[in-house]
Each structure stands twice: as C-alpha cells, then as structure tokens.
Symmetry: C2
Subunit: 324 residues, 2 copies
C-alpha cells in the first residue's frame, strides 16, 4: 500500500519518434524500461499509416502492462520544431508529411490517457539526469552528438525551456574564426558542423579526398564515426585529429556555458559519444583553460550512460514534472 | 494600512562598493532611490577606515529615514570573489586589504539590521530588471561594459547564480580564432578583452600607435571610451570601427546565450553603453544571423536605463527575493 501511495508501481508509456527509428516503451516512474519496441520510421508508408503503426505499438505495450499497472500517461519525444504547450509537432524535417500535427491530442484520443510532448534532445537530457550519467546533479547540460548536436539543460532539477519553449540549442552556438563551416541550418560556424557525427564524417571524407594520411582504405560512403572510432583505436591520425578538433570545439563552447551558468556537470551522449575517449583530452584542455566559475576538478564531464534509450527514460521525468 | 501590509512604505539600505566609488542609498521596495551618498573608495586610508566610513554613511541614511520608515535590511553589492551565502567578501582585487571580510556580519552588527551580499554585476542586473530597461521580462541577461564585462542573468524573474554562487561570467566567455587577446584574468580571448571600456581603450591606443587614421590628436593617456564616443559622433573611423568590432563580439556571444537559454531580452549597461548606438548595428547583424530559438524581432536588445545606480536599485530586488 505504501509503495502505491509513493507511486513506485506506476507505469507510463514512452514514445521517441526519430527520423530513423520509432521507439516505444513501457516505463516506471523511476525510468526503468519494462518493455521496449522499435521499428524503422520508413515503415510508415504515409503520414497516417505511421501514426497507426505507432498507436498499434503503444496499445500493445499498454496490454502488456495489464490492468494492475495500467500506464497513467504518455510522454512523447520528437525532433524538429515542436510546440510543447500545444502538443503540436509543427515541423519534423525527417518525417515526410508530418506538419502541424496535434500529436498529443491524437494519442490521447487513441489511448485514453493524457500525453505530453517534448523536444527529443530535452527528453534525452532528462533521461540522463533521472537515471543516467547526470544522476544526482541539479544543474547540468546533456549534449547529444548525433546527426546534429542537441542539448538538454537541467536547472535546479527541472528542464529549462526558456521563453520560446525551445531546447538548449547548443548545436547552433557559433564557433569562432577559423572553424567556420556551413551548417545544415544555413548558418556559418555552428558547433554541430564539427562535433556532430554527420559533421565529423563529412570532414573525414573531405580530408581523405584531399589526400591526408589515413589507415582507411574502404569506400568513402561507408566512412562514419563508428568506423572512425575503430580507426582511432588503431592509431589512425586522421580520425584521431578530427575527434580532437571536435573536443576542442565542444570544450570551447562548454567553457562559455559553464561560465554563464555555473553548472556542475556536462554529459556527452548520442552516437558520437562512442568517440568520448578520443574527444575528452582536448575538450578538457580547452575547457579547463577557459573556466572561471569553477575549476575543472569541481565539475564533471562524463559519457552518457543510457545510449539511445535515454529519451524513453526521460519521458518518466517529463511526466513526473507534469504532475502525473 | 493596506499600503503597509503590501510593504509599499518599506525602505532598505543599499550599498555598492566599487573599486573607484562607494555608493550608498536609502531605497524603497520598488527600487526608488530616496537618498544617495557617494565617496571615492580611496578615501578609506586603511581597510578598517574604509569600513568605518561606509558604516558612517549608512547610519546617516538610516537617520534620514526616520523611525517611521526605518530600513528593514541592507543589500550589499561588491566586486571580485564573494561568497553570498556566507556573506563574505573573499577577494576584492581593487580594494587593498579586504580579504575574507565577513561584511554582512560586520554591517549587521553596526546597523542592527540583516544584510545580504551579492556580486555587483548580479545586483546591476537585478536593478535593470526591477525598474530599468529589463522591466517586464522574465528571462533576460544584463551585460555591464565597464573595466571588465559583467553579467547578471535573470531566469523566471529570479537571479541565477548556479551551483557555485557565481555571477553570469559572460565577460570571460572565450571568443573565437582571430580575436584572441590576453585578458586580465590570464586567459586568452575573453569577451571583455574587446568589449569592456578598458579593452576598447587599449585597442584604440595600440592602433593610434600603429598609425591607423583617427581624428584624435590628444594625449594617448586621456583616450577612453567617452572620448571615443565623441569622436565616433564626428565620424572618426578608428573609434567607429572598434565599437563595431565590440558589437560583433557581443552579438556573437549573445547568439550562443540566446540559443542556449531562449531569453527574451539583453540589456547593455555600464559605462561602455554610452557607445550603444555605435555597437548595436554590428551586434544586431551577427546576433540575428546566428539566432535559432527566436528571430531578432521577437527579442529585445536595449540600452540600460539606470546607469551607475543600477546596483543600488537592484538591492531592493535582492532583499525582496530574500523575503525582507
């Protein structure tokens, strides 16, 4: 009975709509994943069909929960431009046909439980904070090195969204002078041009084409950051250098973030975190040089612990915060 | 009676200890300055003498208030390294002999009212937020272009101090590539090397010595940003360019801050704000290019309204926040 009062037996549904995979899970209030589904986003043959597939999976998960642990609410993570308060997915560039989609209303109607929408980078951050590498910190930032660089900012144990209900857009913090590359967003010099998996891959391909020394002998189309991590482990100079440069850029942006906000920790997640060991030394060097509010010893820069499931875990924190 | 319940008749004492001047005031809860004193910090012939002078001025102000409007608390702003919770001024580089000074305890004992200590840049920010150019905004940053560049960050209508009880150290956010100048803090490329009044003055003097064209014909020791503003108004290319470069650097740092936090406004105060009209165009250009979370039209970048009295006004907000 006590456990029930504390809500430890409560379950939630969690949904993470990515451009590549749609993940869904049955989770506890503490972020434990009880059951998990995943399918390629491309299986949705039309915008409506994709919605139907998602609802089907969520209903399956609800059935698994049984009536005793029926999920109380649904937490949804989505990329692109979202309006969390309205529950509307305004624009998801990687999901064709989804525009101004009132996703929380549609899901609530289908599942008969309340739904809350949040930016996927924010959910990722909440996940690492609740049950991952950021656990126990009140003030921290979580970076996701993926196709882009996302950010989730936790201030005083709550997700920070600012005046425009946005994610912490750390991927588009502009870098200085020499490093100006064109970003997918149309701007020059955004952090993600050099620190996202896509950015690092592009730089590697360019440099191989320019004849820079590397151990890589394969098809350039297959060169990505996972391959680069393997190469770096074998001492490949090209991969090692690109990771070090990414580390410098991240360290340099994080210095500004730490100086501004006096955070305790930064968590590096996303696929690019596979290169964490190669990124950290230069990151640490630049960050420790430029920090004012604390020394490097007083803060933590750590690798994310939850991987791709972080947004599902974060859904629990989101729903907790919303009072469910 | 109603006014009394609402606390509109309450008064506070405010103290702003600068390296050049010590200012003190009798203020209302709303930040109106009822009475004001100022004397050169150098009048204090020893650390103890300076304290005695300050206490004397504050007692004078308390007498002026009379028993009917006796001040309820004292708000203290100080530069350097402070410990707000302990009420200790750990290190004030511009005030010789003041080290690990338990200033709130000393003031409380002398004046028989509670005292609260805060970083002067934070108080400046609180002042502009309460009764100045930042009024009505919930999420904003206030920059002070002075000897250094200070920052006060207001999030959800409260001063943000982070995990290390620090100010928003925007002056030490590192700039990129080409602009790397050595900062007084020993680091390379801090914003304040190009955007503080001291930084801009130094750059001007260097460039005059290097033979860059300018209308200035006076003694180089007398060249400062006030003179540069007059020169710029007459079309002086050197001063105009240095202000434009400062604007670029500020715009570029603010882009990161706005992208990270989704703020509504930035207020530019301090002595360097005299050059606001010459700084704004390039600031706006760079900022609007790099903003992601909102457009330039949705946010405001405005000149501070309170000038050097902002910290005294901010003491009212500080004491309100502390429940006095």
């Amino acid at each position: 009975m006590l456990a029930n009062i504390q809500g430890n037996d409560d379950t939630f549904l969690a949904l993470d709509i990515g451009g590549t995979y749609v993940k869904s899970g049955l989770i506890t209030r503490r972020g434990e994943i009880l059951s998990f589904h995943s399918f390629p986003t491309s299986e949705g043959q039309s915008p409506t069909h994709l919605l139907e597939l998602i609802i089907g999976r969520l209903k399956d998960l609800r059935s698994e929960a049984g009536s005793k642990r029926a999920p109380k609410a649904l937490g949804i993570g989505a990329p692109g431009w979202i309006k969390p308060k309205e529950g509307v997915l305004a624009l998801a560039p990687n999901i064709p046909g989804w525009k101004d989609l009132p996703i929380t209303r549609l899901m609530s109607q289908a599942l008969k439980i309340p739904a809350v929408l949040e930016n996927d980078a924010n959910l990722y951050g909440l996940g690492e904070w609740l049950a991952g590498a950021g656990r126990g910190h009140e003030n921290l930032i979580v970076l996701t090195l993926g196709t882009g660089v996302g950010g989730g900012l936790i201030l005083e144990g709550r997700l920070w969204s600012g005046s425009f209900a946005s994610a912490a857009e750390i991927g588009h913090i502009p870098l200085g002078g020499e490093r100006q590359r064109l970003c997918g967003c149309g701007r020059l010099g955004c952090l993600e041009t050099v620190a996202s998996t896509n950015g690092m891959r592009k730089i590697a391909i360019e440099r191989v084409r320019d004849g820079e020394p590397t151990r890589y002998r394969g098809d350039l189309d297959l060169l990505d950051t996972s391959v680069m991590v393997e190469l770096a482990q074998e001492g490949d100079p090209l991969s090692t250098r690109i990771f070090a440069e990414a580390g410098e850029a991240i360290g340099w942006v994080l210095a500004g973030v730490f100086n501004l906000l006096g955070l305790e920790a930064a968590v590096i997640g996303g696929g690019g975190a596979g290169a964490f060991d190669f990124i950290l030394p230069s990151l640490k060097k630049v960050l420790s040089h430029h920090m004012v509010t604390a020394t490097f010893d007083e803060i933590r820069v750590v690798k994310g612990a939850l991987g791709g499931n972080a947004p599902l875990v974060g859904a629990a924190a989101l729903l907790n915060n919303h009072g469910f």
